[in-house]
Amino acid sequence: MAKFSKKPIELLQSIDYTPPRTDWMSTPNDFSDGRYAYPAKPEKIEYLMKELPGAFANPREWSPGDVDWKLPPNWKDIVHEGFKERLNKYRSLKVFMDVCVRCGACADKCHFFIGSGDPKNMPVLRAELMRSVYRKDFTLAGKILGKLTGARVMEEDVLKEWFLYFYQCTECRRCSLFCPYGIDTAEITMMARELLHLCGININWIMEPVANCNRTGNHLGIQPHAFKDILDFMLDDIEAITGKRINAPLNEKGHEVIFITPSGDVFADPGIYTFMGYLMLFDAIGLDYTLSTYASEGGNFGLFTNADMMKKLNAKMYAEANRLGAKWILGGECGHMWRVINQYMDTMNGYLQGPQMSTPVSPITGTVFGNAKQTKMVHIAEFTADLIKHGKLNLDKSRNDYVKATFHDSCNPARGMGLLDEPRYVLKNVCNHFWDMPENTIREQTFCCAGGSGLNTDEIMEIRLRGGLPRGNALKYVQDKHGVNTMACVCAIDRATLIPLADYWAPGVRITGLHELVANALILPGEGERTMNLRQEEFEELNAQEEE
């Protein structure tokens, strides 16, 4: 793995927004170490080709660092035909290829551009990488006038350039907010990645989780019995913290609600504390629910590969709700999972909903979640905000007094849903100290953690930390100004990626899920006196540290 040793100040000094002298079509690709994520293991691709024919191809050992990528001999036809097919399936792609005026409003909105200065990270130019081929292959002017109209022939270097830069886009959609025509680079990146997959160009960090999710139901390929063991460990920890043994139903039939959250939270620190938070919350309100090992992954890495793969993975949610007889689905804190649920799920898989499913109603407060009546799926922040409003939670906010919190809006719930006030409402009700980061860096203008869309792998750490500059800098601002020491978020990828980001750009800030803070303040019926938080750190020490 490429070692990344630049100091923050060195990284800042290396950023230059002035483009190079060579025009972008003649700037060669840089495939040095650390500039690309590792390709997928062939057996993962072989497995997925069996499970979903047509989406993936060409399993082999290869490396982007090599000159020979072992492409199929007819790869140009594959790309051309695939491109044509998608231009006919998606109005978005066709319109976005045609209408860009290159006004440049998007140029400095991308976190990867802000942190790198690489002009191909300007969303407009990222799209031009593809648009130039579109002009050559599909427009009359491009065919006749060629380079004069910004058209270029698809060559191996162009395909490699696609791989470099469509895996330096986290599909966060910040550019699309500022674009006068709403051109969405996420949409373009998705299409480019689909085309790359057809030639067998992919990254393992995405493909292995996809293969695992398909078979075992979760990311890391943890098998059901091991999943149960981990859950039992969490219950032990909760008992150690609260003195109360609670229950966590798994794969049980006949419960009203099925709870699905990203599996990252089952395995990784600090996500596990968020997961424990959910369990404690459900115990406190006596929710009639079950978890599932089969549908133990809310996050859908299929979204980062291919629309059909996304559909196939997502379909497990309704399938399992039907099998277990759940009336509706409660969804945990996750970013792209909620993009999928909010903008794709019902369209793709709504017909799979069983007759037992109905518009979600909170069994505790009676609130009808009318805004989820079609998908039958409610966000946990909505659910908890409703509980708080109705006074159903017994909260001791002062337990979170050592927390000086800010909130990171994850890209997908922000720009692909609009879940902005719900988590803030919850946060403010469980935490006495809260400050938002500057307004151009939050809510719909939020900056990505730079590890979204499957880019949260360590071999591209420099790319991630550069892309993390805008978020990190905004965080440092509230850290310096208000003494913020905790950044809450509602995304499992964030909980993994923001830690190195904060350690680098704003050291001393810890990352937490929203429901870790909820559960820390939450008084369970029959619990003992709490002396420590969910991370089993003593309150006394934490408070003493804060006073220093």
């Binding site: 209408v99 140029a107 002009p119 699309s176 089969y294 196939k312 805004n371």
Partner: protein, 344 residues
């Protein structure tokens, strides 16, 4: 370089009618044939392009949400209805704001990197919005004013528009504000392409050419009106006769008119095949013209492939039945021998 090519090209376009009309006396060709062909190409091309977009399916509703979603509890949270619409009428308002007020461009900021103080700042940068608005509205007003040439009787709204446009009462003929502002807008848009290294880097001939072309159209128009003082009555006669399919080209119209007309014809030819189609495209952008409501209402994807099924629970349990049984997880089907074992 791209700018230079475009400029040279537009100069060449100016020379063509000057030679064609001035030397070769091809008045009918430049006065009737070219403009009417251009108009037909424009109309047909525009319609075809829009039809091409519109016939393509919108598989998913993917609005970019620019504010708070429709909440389940309106007393607790307030929806930002115009930036995150969830109904048709709200989406219409969003589109009106986008098309008429350039809502998204109004958000524009400029990043400022202060390495010494370790600060990344986002300054408000509304210049692009302002000059884009000036240019587009001036262009619109100018096109609307030209409608008087096509109409035997000029309707009242056009009279008011003209009166308003010339309300400064400067000069004879009276100066139209739109003539000045369109040039101001165009020069800003061109200047920023040339001056900002980022924008210069991404600019193609496709970007400079329409700018120079429209500048050429505006300048030739200004020259006609304020300097050559062309015979507008004669021009109107010609245009009105054209609309009645009676072709007559009066003599004695200044050559600058033919330059103007030829450049406009070029613009009409070029329009449907260029980025200028953003005029139509802005209405069809799926991240703007759809409500954020697929959690509330069903949206149909015409090519949704229902043969794609999830990896089934049965297959999953087959894969892991023994260890699941061991761990005490509920099962649909017990492992072989498990029941007997339990009895024993």
């Amino acid at each position: 370089m791209n700018a230079l090519y475009s400029l040279v090209f537009v100069f060449a376009l100016v020379l063509i009618p000057l030679i064609g009309v001035g030397a070769a006396k091809l008045n009918v060709f430049f006065g009737i044939c070219i403009p009417s062909t251009a108009l037909l190409v424009f109309l047909a091309g525009f319609v075809c392009k829009i039809y091409g977009w519109a016939k393509r399916p919108v598989p998913f509703r993917i609005p970019t949400t620019g504010g708070q979603q429709e909440p389940y509890d309106t007393t607790l949270f307030t929806q930002n209805k115009w930036d995150n619409p969830s109904t048709g009428p709200q989406t219409v308002v969003r589109m009106l704001l986008e098309v008429l007020c350039f809502r998204s461009l109004f958000r524009n900021t400029a990043v400022k990197l202060d390495v010494k103080n370790n600060v990344v700042a986002y300054a408000s940068a509304k210049w692009l919005w302002l000059f884009a608005i000036l240019f587009h509205y001036s262009f619109f007003i100018i096109v609307a004013r030209h409608m008087r040439l096509f109409l035997a009787k000029v309707p009242m709204p056009l009279e008011w528009l003209e009166f308003g446009d010339g309300i400064m009462q400067i000069g004879i003929p009276r100066m139209y504000m739109s003539d000045v502002l369109i040039l101001v807008g165009l020069l800003f848009l061109l200047g920023r392409r040339l001056v900002d290294p980022k924008i210069r880097y991404i600019s193609l001939v496709n970007d400079y050419f329409p700018l120079f072309l429209i500048i050429g159209i505006a300048l030739s128009g200004v020259y006609m009106r304020y300097f050559a003082k062309v015979d507008v009555i004669a021009i109107k006669d010609m245009v009105v006769s054209l609309t009645q399919l009676k072709f007559k080209v009066p003599a004695g119209i200044d050559n600058s008119f033919y330059v103007h007309l030829f450049l406009v014809s070029t613009l009409l030819f070029y329009f449907p095949f260029s980025k200028l189609m953003h005029l139509g495209g802005v209405f069809l952008s799926p991240t703007r013209n759809l409500p954020n409501d697929t959690r509330i209402r069903h949206h149909e994807n015409p090519w949704n492939d229902k043969s794609i099924m999830p990896h089934s629970y049965a297959a999953y349990e087959d894969d892991f039945r023994a260890p699941m049984f061991e761990a005490g997880l509920p099962l649909e089907k017990l492992p072989e021998g498990a029941e007997e074992e339990a009895k024993a």
